[in-house]
């Protein structure tokens, strides 16, 4: 092959890779493996790092710094291995840092973070346990700022496993989504354990809107245990409004 021809070929390849990735979604390419492992990498959002063994940290103004000097904290990408059996996704494992696991039946390489995150959240609608947990945390760590409505959709999905919905709610709480979104979401939450979990999620926001909603829950939720839990988390807030609320309850 002459030199100009080789350059041309490389140029075509460089152009074709993103086109192919977009043409075949992460989902359909993964589904092409009936039994085996599919591997993919995607960019993590700024501040995410891991030790390559499954431990992941977020280092930013909201979550603080990385406090374990004994372990290295290596910035992304996020590496995900999806286990397939009989044409179904049966496991998801993710890590940040370290090296790829050696065995994979299909390596998707580096995929757009938003595509990967949406796919992983979709998986969590039907998965439970550790796989769901890993899929959702990987999606939350992805450099994909516009996927939070997908998390909210999973929280509302009454057909999904409760632990997946709680996990989605947790990550939604940790996201940059406005507290007002969480407040609106609360009114759709069933069953009671999900609303109970929501009180914790709201409490982690540490802002006025969250305190106001917790007070509202403590006053009006239909379940007494949820009201009591909201009050507990209000107590952790040290917000003067919360203290005033306790005093009101005691004199009413």
């Amino acid at each position: 092959m002459s030199r100009p021809a080789r350059t041309f070929t490389l140029g075509v390849l460089a152009l074709s890779i993103p086109v192919v990735v977009r043409a075949q979604t992460v989902a359909s390419r993964t589904a092409s493996v009936r039994d085996g492992t599919v591997r993919m990498n995607f960019d993590s959002r700024p501040g995410v790092c891991g030790d390559g063994e499954g431990n992941v940290w977020i280092i930013d103004a909201r979550h603080g710094g990385f406090g374990d000097a004994r372990r290295p904290c290596i910035p992304g990408p996020i590496r995900v291995a999806i286990g397939r059996s009989g044409g179904q996704t049966v496991s998801v494992r993710s890590r940040v840092g370290g090296v790829d696991s050696p065995a994979a039946d299909l390596d998707l390489g580096n995929v757009p973070a938003s595509d990967a995150a949406r796919y992983l959240i979709e998986l969590a609608h039907t998965l439970g346990g550790r796989s769901s947990n890993q899929a959702l945390s990987a999606a939350a760590f992805a450099d994909a700022p516009n996927v939070w409505p997908e998390f909210a959709r999973l929280v509302r999905d009454s057909g999904a496993m409760l632990d997946s919905r709680k996990e989605a709610l947790f990550w939604l709480g940790q996201s940059d989504a406005p507290t007002a979104d969480l407040v609106r979401l609360y009114d759709d939450l069933e069953p009671e354990p999900l609303r109970d979990h929501a009180t914790f999620v709201l409490s982690q926001r540490r802002d006025e809107a969250a305190v106001d909603k917790l007070i509202d829950i403590a006053r009006h939720d239909r379940d007494l245990d949820v009201r009591k839990r909201a009050m507990f988390w209000l107590g952790q807030s040290r917000d003067p409004k919360a203290v005033k609320f306790f005093r009101d309850v005691l004199v009413r």
Partner: protein, 257 residues
């Protein structure tokens, strides 16, 4: 000379009738395990071998204290005397454990001493007031269980005595709190509403705040809140605080400064 004194002491002990000995002396002459049996406080019950129930609304099993309606235990809670198991080594009480209910038949040859509740309370009061840390703490429950005049004045002294072990003072304060709730007639939960539960929760949440803020607030609620549920919760959490101000408040509420 020392031998003569020892022989005289033994002779005296043999001659003196058993009833003339104090309970303390009778226990101390035991080596190993002895059981002291005495009438229990009205309402107290148990299965005679694993737990004590209805002690100011609490169930006590081993070192654990459980609130009423906690779903435990399964064996019936029957009235009966207190059976206090004491371990004595070289004349010193080293361990106490109290049961209420039917007397066990399998006491494995342990000596049994039956006494009045007043006599038992007198001896137990001495242990609480001046015994070693563990035994003093272990003596608080059997003292509270005795069908004798309330031990609150003694427990108040102990709770306020900074020379006594912290664990003992905490135990004393806990039972004092229960005594205050009983004394003020705040223990009736039959008509409790969800609002009462929220009030109790509010008091709990306030109790978890820094001590400098929480104790004065709990004291105020315990003294003057219009809701029995709030006062009861405040007294309970004051009893858990180990704070001297709690003892002062309890003294005030018991009318025994």
């Amino acid at each position: 000379m020392r031998q003569s004194v020892g022989a005289l002491a033994i002779a005296t002990m043999c001659v003196a009738p058993a009833t003339a000995q104090t309970l303390s002396q009778r226990v101390q002459t035991t080596d190993g395990r002895v059981e002291i049996v005495y009438p229990s406080r009205a309402g107290a019950c148990g299965d005679g071998r694993s737990y004590v129930g209805h002690v100011f609304g609490h169930t006590v099993a081993g070192t654990g204290i459980y609130e009423r309606n906690s779903g435990w235990p399964e064996r019936p809670c029957l009235p009966g005397p207190v059976r206090l198991e004491a371990t004595v080594l070289d004349g010193e009480v080293t361990h106490l454990r109290a049961y209420v209910g039917p007397l066990a038949t399998d006491i494995h040859g342990a000596r049994t001493i039956e006494v009045s509740a007043t006599e038992a309370a007198g001896w137990l009061g001495q242990l609480v007031a001046s015994g070693h840390s563990r035994v003093a703490s272990e003596a608080v429950l059997p003292l509270v269980l005795a069908d004798a005049p309330d031990p609150w004045p003694l427990l108040l002294r102990v709770a306020r005595d900074e020379d006594r072990p912290r664990g003992l003072r905490t135990d004393a304060l806990f039972w004092l709190g229960n005594g205050v709730i009983d004394h003020l007639g705040l223990d009736d939960r039959a008509a409790e509403t969800p609002d009462d539960e929220m009030r109790s929760q509010a008091v709990f949440v306030l109790s978890q705040r820094p001590r400098g803020e929480s104790i004065p607030e709990l004291v105020e609620i315990a003294r003057a809140n219009k809701h029995a549920s709030a006062r009861r919760a405040a007294i309970f959490w004051l009893g858990q605080s180990g704070d001297l101000r709690a003892a002062d408040t309890f003294a005030e509420l018991l009318g025994s400064r």
